[in-house]
Symmetry: C2
Subunit: 558 residues, 2 copies
C-alpha cells in the first residue's frame, strides 16, 4: 500500500493551496492530492464568465497566467506535490489512517495511507425541494461541466429562453451571462421576497433588481417553484405556485450550495449545526490527524461568534495556507470571517460585508441603519458614477455595510471589512485616512459621511430608509422636495405623483418657512441625501416638530 505523509482530498482551491504551501515548508514530504474531477485548481469563480462568452475558452480557467495547464505534471514539476485526478476517495479509515480511492475511469479501488489528512471536499448544489425532471436542459451551475454544457447550447443557438431558479450570487451572475452576451430571454425566480436575501436587506436588493429589469431580465420574487417538468418536445416547464407555467430552453438550478461532508460524516468527524465540518482555530477537525478547509467547513463570525458557512474561493485559499502552516509545525490561527462579498450584475456593482440589518436582528442585536447615495469621484470629474450604501451598526459599534451601484464600491467594502475585522466603531470610519485624488474619489469618503449620519441620527435626526414603504408612508405627511426647480421638474421619483411634494430649493428654504406648517410631519427629499439633511437642520432650528429625511434620496429609488 502506498503511503504519503500528507493526503489531501479535493483539488480546486483549498486542496492545492494546502499542498503548495506544505511543499514549500517541507520540501522532502510526500504530498498527494486526490481530485474527483478531471480538472484541477481551475478558477471555479470564473465559470459564469466562461458561460457568458467573456472568456474565450474553458482552458483559460485551467491554465496559469503564463499559459501552462495546471495538470498533474505541472504540480509535480513546479510545485513539488502529486495530484491524481478522476480519483474519488470513497471512504476514510481513521483507525488505520488510510483512505480508499476509486479510479473513476477504470473502477479500480485501492487504499492509500496517510500521516495527516486534509479534507477540502468543497460544496454541492442544494437539492431542490420540488420535483425536477432529469434532463440535460435542467442543470445546476457549480461544476465546469455545467458551464461547458450551457455554453455549447447557447453558442449553437439552442437557448432562446432560460429560467434561473434562485436569486443568490450565482443566479445573478448567470442572469448576466445568459442575458448579456447571448441575448437570451431570461426569467430569474427567487423564493424570498428579494434577490440576494442572505447578504442584502430588501431595499438594497431592489436597486440590483431594477438593473436586471432594465437589462430585460424578468425577475420574479416570492416565486415558489412547484415542479420542473419536461414537455413533449423535451423543453423544461417551470411550474410556479399561482402563476402561468414557463416553458424554457434551459433551466439553471442556482439554489445555493451546502458543504460536502459525506466522507467526514461517514468516518465520524464532528459536523457543526450549520452542516459544515467543525474545525478549531487551527482548522483541525475533531480528529487531531485530520484538517479541513474550503467550502466544506464552518467558520466563526468575527462579529457575532456564530458559526457560518461561506463558500468562497478567497477564503479557501487562506484556509489552505493556515492548514499547511499548522501541518508544518508553525501554529497558525484562522481569524474567522466577516463575510465580504462582491458580485457584478450587468453594469451594477453589488457588495456587502458583515451583517445585514435583518441578520443582525436575527442574531439578537439591536441594530440601527443609515443610508446614503454617493459619487465615486467628484461630480465635476468625468465618468463619476453613483452608488447607494447602507450601514448597519449598534451604538458605536459597526456591524455591516451594503453597497449597490455603478460606482466603484470595492474600496468601501474592503476598507469596511478591514475595520470590521478590528472590531471597528463609527469613530474608526471618521478617523480613516483614504487615498484621495479627483480621478479616484471624493475629498470626503462615503464611509465618513455614513458615520457622521449615524452620529446625527443618535442626536435626534430621523432618517427614513428606502426600505420603508414610501408609497404608503403616512398619508398625512407633507413631502418637501428641496432640489432645484429644474431637477424637480425633469427628474421625478416614483411616488411623487401620489405625495404631491412641495418644491422649495434648499437655498430658498430659510425664506419660505412660512409656506410650511411646523406642526405637520415633514418628509424631506433631494437627489442623494445631503440637502435633505441640511434642510432638516433648518426646519428643526425653526421649531418644526416632526422632521424626517428620505435617506439616499431620489437616487436610491431609481
Amino acid at each position: 500500500m502506498e503511503k504519503s505523509d500528507f493526503v489531501i482530498i479535493g483539488g480546486v482551491a483549498a486542496g492545492p493551496k494546502t499542498a503548495a504551501v506544505l511543499a514549500r515548508r517541507l520540501p522532502e514530504a510526500i504530498i498527494t492530492v486526490y481530485q474527483r474531477e478531471k480538472h484541477i485548481s481551475y478558477g471555479s469563480c470564473g465559470l459564469p464568465y466562461f458561460a457568458s462568452g467573456d472568456i474565450n475558452s474553458f482552458d483559460e480557467l485551467t491554465r496559469t497566467s503564463y499559459g501552462v495547464a495546471r495538470s498533474p505534471g505541472f504540480f509535480k514539476n513546479s510545485k513539488g506535490f502529486n495530484v491524481i485526478t478522476e480519483a474519488e476517495v470513497v471512504s476514510i479509515d481513521r483507525e488505520a489512517k488510510t483512505v480508499s480511492v476509486k479510479m473513476l475511469e477504470t473502477g479500480e479501488i485501492f487504499k492509500h495511507g496517510y500521516g495527516k489528512l486534509v479534507l477540502a471536499t468543497g460544496a454541492n448544489p442544494i437539492q431542490p425541494p420540488f420535483p425536477v425532471a432529469e434532463s440535460p436542459k435542467i442543470k445546476p451551475f457549480v461544476r465546469p461541466a455545467d458551464a461547458i454544457n450551457f455554453r455549447k447550447m447557447a453558442q449553437t443557438g439552442q437557448v432562446g429562453k432560460a429560467v434561473i431558479v434562485g436569486g443568490g450570487f450565482i443566479g445573478c451572475e448567470v442572469a448576466e451571462a445568459a442575458g448579456g452576451l447571448w441575448g437570451i430571454e431570461v426569467t430569474l425566480i427567487e423564493k424570498e421576497n428579494q434577490l440576494l436575501p442572505y447578504v442584502l436587506d430588501p431595499e438594497m436588493a431592489i436597486i440590483a433588481e431594477r438593473e436586471l429589469v432594465r437589462q430585460d431580465v424578468k425577475v420574479i420574487t416570492s416565486g415558489k417553484v412547484e415542479e420542473i417538468a419536461i414537455n413533449d418536445d423535451g423543453s423544461p416547464v417551470v411550474k410556479i405556485n399561482g402563476r402561468d407555467d414557463i416553458i424554457a430552453d434551459y433551466v439553471f438550478l442556482c439554489l445555493g450550495v451546502k458543504p460536502e461532508v459525506t466522507l467526514a460524516e461517514a468516518c465520524g468527524l464532528e459536523i457543526g449545526k450549520t452542516g459544515g465540518i467543525a474545525v478549531d482555530k487551527n482548522l483541525r477537525t475533531s480528529d487531531p490527524d485530520i484538517y479541513a478547509g474550503g467550502d466544506c467547513i464552518e467558520s466563526e463570525s468575527q462579529i457575532t461568534g456564530d458559526k457560518i458557512c461561506i463558500p468562497m474561493g478567497s477564503l479557501a485559499n487562506r484556509h489552505g495556507r493556515v492548514i499547511a502552516e499548522n501541518l508544518a509545525g508553525n501554529r497558525t490561527d484562522f481569524p474567522g470571517v466577516v463575510g465580504a462579498f462582491l458580485v457584478k450584475i450587468f453594469d451594477m456593482n453589488v457588495g456587502s460585508v458583515g451583517l445585514s440589518e435583518q441578520k443582525a436582528k436575527n442574531s439578537g442585536l439591536n441594530p440601527s441603519a443609515v443610508w446614503g447615495s454617493f459619487g465615486d469621484k467628484p461630480d465635476y470629474y468625468p465618468e463619476s458614477q453613483t452608488f447607494c450604501v447602507k450601514m448597519v451598526y449598534e451604538g458605536n459599534r459597526l456591524l455591516g455595510l451594503q453597497a449597490v451601484g455603478k460606482g466603484n464600491i470595492c474600496r468601501r467594502v474592503d476598507v469596511f471589512s478591514s475595520i470590521l475585522q478590528n472590531s471597528g466603531s463609527l469613530d474608526d470610519l471618521i478617523d480613516f485616512e483614504q487615498g484621495y485624488a479627483p480621478p479616484y474619489s471624493e475629498a470626503i469618503d462615503p464611509l465618513y459621511h455614513l458615520a457622521t449620519m449615524a452620529l446625527a441620527k443618535s442626536k435626534g435626526l430621523e432618517f427614513i430608509g428606502p426600505g420603508a414603504d414610501l408609497e404608503n408612508y403616512d398619508e398625512d405627511a407633507v413631502w418637501l422636495d428641496v432640489r432645484e426647480v429644474d431637477e424637480f421638474e425633469n427628474d421625478t421619483w416614483p411616488y411623487a405623483e401620489k405625495h404631491k411634494p412641495i418644491n422649495i430649493p434648499l437655498n430658498d428654504l430659510r425664506d419660505c418657512l412660512n409656506e410650511l406648517d411646523s406642526k405637520r410631519k415633514i418628509m424631506i427629499i433631494c437627489k442623494r441625501g445631503p440637502r435633505s439633511y441640511q434642510a432638516a437642520l433648518i426646519l428643526k432650528q425653526a421649531g418644526f416638530e416632526d422632521v424626517n429625511i428620505v435617506a439616499g434620496g431620489v437616487t436610491a429609488m431609481q
Copy 2:
C-alpha cells in the same frame, strides 16, 4: 465694531467645513468666514482637470453637484454662516481678540471681533531658489487664476511647448494636463534623481517615469534649474546646469507648497519646526482661543510620531470637523496622519501610504522591503491590468506601501492605510478578508502575497528589488529566466542582452538542474515574481548556495 462668535480665516476646504459643521452644532452662533480670493470652497484638487480640458468650465469646480454656485448667498441660505470674499485678514490682535480685514476691491480696512478664531490659511507655492523673470508665461499652479490663465493660452493655441519645473504630484498632473488633451510638447524637470521623491522610492518612481516618456513627455531628473529668463520675443528660457537652454511658451513652477503662516507668526502663535502652525490633538494652537486646520498646520505621523506637513483636501475637510466639534464643546481628537496619496499620470495609477524605504531609514528605522507585480483581476478575466507594489516593513510591523500601474491600486492603498492606522502587522495583511469576485480581484489579495513574501524573506529567501542596479549587478552571476519559451523569446527585458540569461521554464527546472552550477550565484527572473519564488525553492532544496529572486519580474522593468 462687528463681532462674531467665530471668525474663520480661509475659504477653500478646512474653513468652510469648520463653519458648516459648527453651524449645524450651534445654529444660533454667528460665524464669519473671510476669504481673500473671489472663489470660495472650490475644488482646488480639480484644477489640473480643468486645465487639461477634462472639465469644461471653471464654474464646475465652484458649484455644488446640483449646479448651485457656492456663493456667499449659498452659504448663508443653505449652511447658515457668513462668507465675505476678496477680504484679506491682515493682522490678528490676540489681546483684543480682533482681526483687521482689508477689502481688496476698495482698500477699506476694518476690525472684526471674535470669540474664537480659526486659521485655515492654506499653503503657498514654495519660492524658486533660482532667479525667475516676471511673466504671465511663468507661473505656479496653485490657484484658480493659474489654471484659468494657462487654459486660456492653451485653448487659443499659444502653447506649443511647455516646461514644468518640479516632478511632484502637481508637476505630474500638469504634465498630463498639458501633454494629454492639448498635445503640448512637455518637458518635466525634477531636481532630485527621481520623480515624486517624497512618496516613492526610486525604483517605483521609474515605473511612473516610463509612462510619462511613453506619452512623449521629456523627463529630466537631477535637473538643476539655474534661471528662468525671458528672451527678446517674450518667451521663457529655462537654463539648466550642464544642459542646453530650453525655450518654451509656458513654464509651470511646481516646486511644492509650504504652510501659509504669516498671520500666525505675526501674532506670536507657535510655529513647528516643519514650518506649519503647531496644534495639539484638538487642533488648537498655542492660543486657547485660536484653532487651525488644513494645509497651514503640521500633523503628527501615526507611524513615527514625527511632525509632518501634508497639504491635502481630504485631510483639510477632516480637520474642519474636528475643529468644529471642539468649538462646539464636543472634545474630539484628530488621530494624526499616515500619509495616503493617489495620483493619476496618464494611464498610470500611482499611490502610496506610510513611509518609503528611504523615509523609514531617515526616521532611524531599519526597514526591509518586498516587491511584487500583480493583476487587478484574474488573468482570465477581460481587462485585467497589472500593477507593481513595494511594501516597506520592520520585523513584523508595517511601515508603508507604494503601488504603480494601470491596474486598480486604490483598494490596496486604502486597505493598507486602514491597517497601518491600526499599527498593523504582516499578520493583519494575511488575515485581511477582501471582497472577492473575478470582475474585481484575484482570489488572493496582493497584500496577502506581499506579507507571505516578507515572511519567506525572513526565512532566508533573497529578493533583489527592481531598485538594485540590475544592469551592473554582480557580473559573475548566472541569470535564469524561468518563463515559458515563447515569453522568453517575445517579451525581453532591458538587460537581457548583457546578462545572457539561460531559459529553463519553471516546469522543466527540476529535470534540468544539472545544467546549472550550484556553486554560482543565481539570479532568477520571470514575468511577475511567483515563478521565480517557486524556482528559488527548488534550487535551494537542491543545494544551490546563492539563490536570488528578481522581485516584480520583467513587469517591474517595463
